[in-house]
């Protein structure tokens, strides 16, 4: 585990995911004077309060100016500092897209972007503040590592990993509390390596972010109710994607469902399908995610309405389990 800072389940039942980020970045900044936190009028919303208490001079607030925030961050990185740039993911990915592309990724600077209020976790704020295309944007950016932690503890792991490794990172976290998935940081988090949350051989659900807990719940329910063995992979790193885990799932279960709080175009589902298509291996496949702009509501209500909650995953699993393509398929003839 990078960084050496420890968070536990109690931390994340008491504080929101972004607050765990706030604690993690504070620990790092106390240790390393080269780290700076940059924000665009969202120091409070992105939970930089602890940092403001201990090293206010290293919190740079540029006002409501995301393009400037990225340019300033790139300049500071170029001058040897390590900026953690935090803002709402809708604006870090879209409003400052050119700066992210050119100043951060093209220059390949050592800057870390903490994109909060991810997916539809801003709920009632609506589509102006939802981020359902940010993975499509950031996944296409060369040099950028893209991580979607599933809960607070994984957020701490991702932040520590980003700090420990050189180069630009985009870490996408939710507003408010995430359902607790991990009770310890020592579960083998490694950038680019999926984590198996639930074992299974009948079908694999590959999830990221807030959908991982939902997939775990669905798997537990289906085991009891339908006797199905559902493998659940927490694909926390969207880029570089864990090709090995995906191909293993194809070979072992031959049925895959992806689930994400993001558009079905360009995000986790697309990344998984690209790996499968390149492999030449056939597989029953379904992508769960946003088909259009999301409705307004509480995050959990939106997830339910869109079918990316446990109920939606259960329905999708039952549907995909009915696919009987295997009988007329000859794996020996595969390209």
């Amino acid at each position: 585990m990078a960084g050496g800072f420890v968070y536990n389940a109690i931390d994340q039942t008491e504080v929101a995911t972004a607050e765990i980020y706030g604690k993690a970045i504070t620990d790092i900044m106390l240790k390393d004077p080269k780290v700076v936190a940059i924000t665009a009028d969202l120091a409070k919303s992105t939970k930089l309060g602890d940092v403001l208490k201990v090293c206010p001079e290293r919190v740079i607030n540029v006002g409501i100016a995301e393009q400037d925030m990225f340019g300033v961050g790139a300049g500071m990185a170029r001058a040897g500092m390590i900026p953690f740039i935090s803002g709402f993911s809708a604006f870090t990915s879209m409003r400052a897209c050119d700066q992210l592309h050119t100043d951060i990724c093209y220059q390949n600077v050592n800057a870390k972007i903490i994109a909060t209020h991810a997916g539809t976790s801003f709920g009632q704020a609506g589509s102006t503040h939802h981020a359902i295309v940010d993975l499509a944007i950031t996944r296409a950016m060369p040099n950028l590592t893209v991580i979607v932690p599933a809960d607070g503890i994984e957020t701490a792991n991702a932040v520590n990993a980003a700090y420990a490794n050189n180069g630009p990172y985009y870490i996408r976290i939710n507003r408010g509390f995430d359902r607790v998935l991990y009770d310890t940081q020592d579960y083998g988090f490694e950038v680019g390596k999926a984590v198996e949350i639930h074992p299974g051989t009948d079908i694999t659900v590959i999830a990221c972010g807030s959908c991982v807990f939902q997939a775990k719940q669905a798997a537990e329910f289906l085991e009891n109710a339908d006797g199905l063995k559902v493998r659940v992979l927490n694909m926390h790193t969207i880029k570089p994607i864990d090709e090995e885990a995906i191909l293993k799932a194809v070979m072992d279960t031959r049925r895959i469902i992806t689930v994400e709080d993001h558009s079905v175009i360009g995000g986790l589902g697309s990344a998984v399908s690209e790996v499968m298509a390149k492999s030449g291996k056939g597989c029953a496949f379904k992508m769960l995610g946003h088909q259009g702009f999301a409705p307004i509501g509480l995050h959990e209500d939106i997830m339910s309405a869109v079918g990316i909650d446990a109920n939606g995953i259960i329905s999708a699993v039952r549907e995909v389990m009915k696919a009987d393509f295997e009988e007329d398929d000859n794996w020996d003839d595969d390209v």
């Binding site: 006002g63 340019g71 300033v72 100043d103």
Partner: protein
């Protein structure tokens, strides 16, 4: 009367003339290039790189070096010759400028061309990056200065004004902003495409101590930079040097004409423009005699 000695001024004019010729030659090798905006900013590049910038050619990433950011990144056709002439890069590279497979493209890549502090090209990025390097200097108690130059048409990008606000808010007097006011953009004169005036008032309203100079007069430029450097010693309102320039400065038949933004040269025009550059150089030397100390 400028503060610059005639001797130093003459040396800088010699260098500016040499670099203008290299810019023209590079354009010939490349087949075409952004001559207009390159020549308008060439005098600034000359005084910064041959008089002011505290940099080490043998240690290009020296952490205490002054930074220079060419926000108007398309002026690379003028900047690349400077970086080669200084010794950061092999001058032979200029023969590959803009050619397929070259490391030296139309807009310089800071990870490929030695001495480039920021990869620019997409307009409206340099000011914020400069604010970042200047803020880093303050946080790390370093004395280096950051110099950034934007075009005037470039100021249409709103991101510049975000960057100006940051430089003003954090009183980054260690960040010196230049505006290359050559009055032209691709589609025509700036005031016809999108009104920009009053530029000086706008910069003052954004908190900058704004000095207006003839940006193609090396003596005036140096005087203004001296003032900006003196102010940089303490945290205070930043300085903007608004440079009134001519697009294509030095080549009489195109100077001031927006059509020279991007040009191809053939043997005849190259010969003609070379003669005009020489004539301009002689006129500049006469000015040194008149205005130098």
């Amino acid at each position: 009367m400028a503060n610059l000695s005639k001797q130093e001024w003459t040396a800088l004019e010699n260098k500016a003339y040499e670099l203008r010729k290299m810019c023209m030659q590079t354009t010939m090798w490349a087949g075409s290039g952004h001559i207009g905006g390159g020549l308008s900013v060439m005098d600034l590049l000359t005084v910064l790189y041959y008089k002011y910038l505290n940099i080490k050619v043998d240690e290009p990433q020296w952490e205490d070096r002054d930074r220079f950011i060419l926000s108007k990144g398309h002026a690379a056709i003028a900047y690349a010759p400077v970086l080669c002439d200084k010794g950061f890069n092999d001058p032979e590279m200029l023969k590959t400028f803009n050619l397929s497979g070259s490391k030296m493209g139309m807009h310089l890549d800071s990870n490929k061309i030695v001495g480039v502090d920021a990869s620019t090209g997409s307009l409206g990025h340099g000011v914020s990056i400069a604010a970042g390097t200047a803020l880093a200097a303050r946080l790390q108690n370093k004395d280096y200065l950051t110099y950034v130059v934007t075009g005037d048409g470039e100021l249409g990008e709103g991101s510049n004004w975000e960057g100006f606000m940051t430089i003003n808010h954090y009183e980054l007097s260690n960040c010196i902003v230049f505006i290359d006011r050559n009055h032209c953009m691709i589609d025509g004169p700036t005031e016809e495409v999108m009104k920009l005036e009053p530029v000086a008032d706008k910069m003052r309203a954004f908190g900058f101590n704004t000095i207006c100079v003839d940006g193609n007069n090396i003596g005036e430029l140096c005087d203004a930079i001296d003032v900006a450097i003196a102010r940089s010693k303490e945290k205070c309102a930043p300085t903007c040097i608004l440079m009134d320039t001519l697009k294509g400065a030095g080549i009489k038949s195109v100077a001031g004409d927006y059509h020279c933004h991007y040009m191809a040269l053939d043997d005849d025009t190259f010969t003609k423009y070379s003669k005009e550059l020489e004539e301009d150089y002689r006129n500049r030397l006469a000015r040194v005699e008149k205005e130098g100390k």
